[in-house]
Symmetry: C2
Subunit: 280 residues, 2 copies
Amino acid sequence: MIIIRSISRMVRVAQQARRQDKAIGLVPTMGALHAGHLSLIRACRRENDITVVSIFVNPVQFGPQEGFKKYPRTLQQDARLCKREGVDIIFFPDAKQMYPDNHRTFVAVDNLSEVLCGKSRPGHFKGVATVVAKLFNIVSPNSAYFGQKDAQQAIIIKRMAADLNLPVKIKVLPTVREKNGLTLSSRNVYLSDQERKDAVVLSGALNLAKGLIRRKVLDSSRIIKKMARLIRTKKTARIDYIWIVDPDSLRPVKRINGHCLIALAVRFGKTRLIDNATIK
Amino acid sequence: MIIIRSISRMVRVAQQARRQDKAIGLVPTMGALHAGHLSLIRACRRENDITVVSIFVNPVQFGPQEGFKKYPRTLQQDARLCKREGVDIIFFPDAKQMYPDNHRTFVAVDNLSEVLCGKSRPGHFKGVATVVAKLFNIVSPNSAYFGQKDAQQAIIIKRMAADLNLPVKIKVLPTVREKNGLTLSSRNVYLSDQERKDAVVLSGALNLAKGLIRRKVLDSSRIIKKMARLIRTKKTARIDYIWIVDPDSLRPVKRINGHCLIALAVRFGKTRLIDNATIK
């Protein structure tokens, strides 16, 4: 396994691999790797000749109060995990290389970026789309791997890749959870014991919704109300949003009659967690 | 020479050429080819194994009243010219393929896009940057060729390619002019005889500025005033802007002391023409 810090070297290595007709898979991460990332890395390894894990805490996707500085940075441990998983390359550029002072170009995916998490985090998805477009151009992967946990992100990246004719297959893998249902997230380290206990209510609320839908309760606002009531039983929980939306347009669905995405964001103390379920 | 209308076929043909280590050159055009385009095509032919000319009148770079519909479309003549010049591929996609109904992604180059032509044409350069990013991803050229006539466009495309780490060399070739100094432009066909005569004043005003600078008149506002006075001697001329700017930041330069770009846009009747000169 090699760690590449220079963009130009990463480009050279990737171009050489492509010329040798090797399939490159990319797992873009912000580091602080957990079992969710590892499931992406394993899928990437199965389907490609070369697995690149990018580790870059992307400043432009954080709002001013969103904890860019305190985001966990654990390169040594990440590198150990990657090596164990058989990763070929860690791409670990610094922010000055990725965003030199005269950087002025941004990629925006309109309509999809202003709702759900985009409403609470203005500019977030513009930052995500921009860095992912850059990473795709640097690493030139055949396939790139994202988690279903960040459902809106996956939808936006898919739309961006299609719209900009980026020659990359976007693969979205299932959310990895603890036994109690809590989704794995690098932000879980911020939770106190009580908050961590309370946060289990997110998957509980999604299961409640699924149960209601199975029992033919199809009115979104009724389902959302019941979910909210359940979440509010937890003292440390403060709901940011609960939405039931069309998974292509992300527009709210009033009455469920086909594919939909149930997405929620809830703060536990200062930590904002997200979760979602898709209904077919 | 082949004409490719399908994006997916263009991608396949380009990928195959790249695998054979052939250098691809792209000349992005909106058709209505003239000697300015031909000079780009010749440079492209000299420097690459495969020359692709894209012809696409890009709807998203036209404002509502900016003549998208009446823009000259002359495919048969363009194809004849391209064939004569030894072009390998004309890429001629339709708007529905380039912008399907669910297209939502745009590339914006902040700061550089809102000044000069961007001020008179809001959204124009977002449309340009978006379509050029798409074309780069579809054709995957090693080099792409643009005219110095569209100076701001060339600066924005260079910035975009660098910022998004697009692996394309941007080549900018000198403006081609008629003997009388008028820049070649597909829009010249709109000019009446009188307007065409008057439009020669643009290069005249740029020459006036260059002469002043040679004689050490370095105050931008004084130069601009003299240029404006000259242009206003032509009855059909209505000045949109005259600016002297830094060629990297496009910020106005008060006093000339190094590289600068003198750029102007003037309407003759209903036709808006641009021209520029660089001072070293």
